[in-house]
Amino acid sequence: MLDVRVKRRQGDFVINAVFRSEAVGVTALFGRSGAGKTSIINMVAGLVRPDEGHIIVNDRRLFDSTMSVDLPPEKRRVGYIFQDGRLFPHLSVRSNLTYGMGLAPKAERYVDFDQVVHLLGIEHLIDRRPAKLSGGEKQRVAIGRALLTSPSVLLMDEPLASLDVARKAEVLPFIARLSGEFSIPILYVSHSLEEILNLADAMVVLDSGSAVAVGSIEDLMSRRDLQHLTGYTDCGAVISTVVESQHETAGLTHLRFPGGVLKVPRLDAYVGAKVRVRIEARSVAIALVAPEQISVQNILPGTVEEITPGNGSLVDVRLDIGCPLLARITPQALKTLDLRAGQQVFAVIKSVAVSHGVLWRNGPTEAFE
């Protein structure tokens, strides 16, 4: 749980942000460059002092100007992965990694050295010095260093930007699992929608120092008024589902959602697991009659709810298939199909196109052991 209310003036820039995130998991801090993300994270870490306000993490009051509480950084037990690395140049990679490890109370350590080192693929760097590491190698060591303090809150400032895709795909689920298993709240800054979708439960959108929107990923990502802030022209629907059944030979997993069953490529998740999927508006086609003899697995009946001009010359159509779904089509298609609100249609969704949005947290588990 995160409860942040901070005011601070730095130069011409004023930060005045209020947000609460009840989520146990990952809260994404989103906003354009210079919006104040790093500044806020610094305040949570205790490196920058708010002029007034309070910061409460999991019921621990880290800062409160009215009660004169201001824990020093070392008492806050944050694991901070800095935007700019900050490895200790005089220490070997190993000593960098273990720097904070021994300082955490023994009983509260929950991260294992060997596991982290293996996961981050830095075994062969362990005796080197930071100066001669590549950019991505440095960043991985920084991630490991923060994780190994067994923090009670993780602050991650664009931590994966310099990681390659394969490594990212290994590290993301690990972070997600940490947050899930040990109830560590994570404040996560990233410009990558993919990362945020895969990780975050809640999202705070910052603009010029203020939190202009706070809420669940599901809500915020489909809000079109935030698009100019997030910069994402791809909108889409995020749907919470439960694994209903596994179909080995068909290579499919059936997910139950309010409107029925969604078929997606096989997920390595147990039946009953919660899975969040995102269906991009651009991947959804609309048909008046259900197409046949086609590779598409999901052909779901629904109703047209609203038709709005979308990005560029395109048109966004909101459907109700038991839950809201967005489809983005061309004006040409709109004209041909002669769509109107209230009309009965079929949403055509390639199952393969869905897989992209599966939540790592509850998704593949093989990377964990």
Binding site: R76, G100, A104, R128
Partner: protein, 232 residues
């Protein structure tokens, strides 16, 4: 005896010089690092004054400084009397006084070098260490101090060299007593004061130079090793 062998007098002066300079550096190093830290990191009223007092030995002629030390640390001096009464320690006219004089003279050099290094330390690294759970003291010893090693080496070698060459304050404060306070420069001076002492003086001079060079080379090696470790 070979003309290259050292005479007992020379050995005595050499030994004493090393001893005195060694102590001077050893004692002033921790104090100097502390002072440098205070000057580099804190802001408080009267900071300029502290800074000034530390630099005083640089501005004043050594002889004046020796005189001030004598007034303060002599048997009848404010501090000297106290030390003698409470601890039975005499500083004036002993090697301890020579070390004190050297330390005081070298102090500003030491402080400056360490301070310069300190001001170059990336504060972000200290913040990072704090978030990793280290308190200010631990941060100082595990991050700040290792990062200012170049400054400490530079400061120490300056202080050591300055101590080896210290003359004016020493002779004024602790006199020129062979075997107790007659360091290399004092022995050298004595020799130059009598006609015909040039040859012996030259020998001492060479000894002093060799000693200084040796210290310097040692410090360079140390610094290079440190730099290599940072790149390693």
């Amino acid at each position: 005896m070979s003309p290259f062998a050292l005479t007992p007098v020379e050995i005595e002066a050499l030994r004493l010089s090393l001893w005195v300079s060694g102590w001077a550096v050893a004692v002033s190093l921790p104090l100097g690092i502390m002072a440098a830290w205070v000057l580099a990191r804190l802001r408080f009223p009267g900071k300029s004054l502290v800074d000034g007092v530390i630099h005083l030995p640089l501005v004043l002629p050594p002889v004046v400084l020796g005189y001030l030390l004598l007034v303060l640390f002599g048997r009848r001096g404010v501090i000297g009397a106290l030390l003698y009464k409470t601890l039975g320690i005499t500083i004036a006219f002993t090697w301890k006084g020579a070390a004190l004089a050297s330390a005081v003279m070298a102090f500003p050099l030491l402080v400056r070098a360490v301070r310069l290094s300190l001001e170059g330390v990336d504060r972000g690294l200290e913040s990072a260490a704090r978030t990793l759970g280290a308190g200010p003291v631990r941060v100082f010893f595990t991050v700040t101090l290792p990062l200012v090693v170049p400054g400490i080496i530079a400061g120490a070698i300056l202080a050591f060299a300055r101590s080896l060459g210290e003359f004016g304050a020493t002779i004024t404060f602790v006199s020129n007593i062979r075997g107790e306070t007659q360091t290399l420069p004092l022995a050298l001076y004595t020799l130059t004061q009598v006609p015909g002492g040039e040859w012996a003086a030259m020998r001492l001079c060479v000894i002093a130079v060799v000693l200084g060079m040796a210290a310097l080379v040692a410090s360079e090696l140390l610094a290079r090793r440190f730099a290599a470790r940072m790149e390693g």
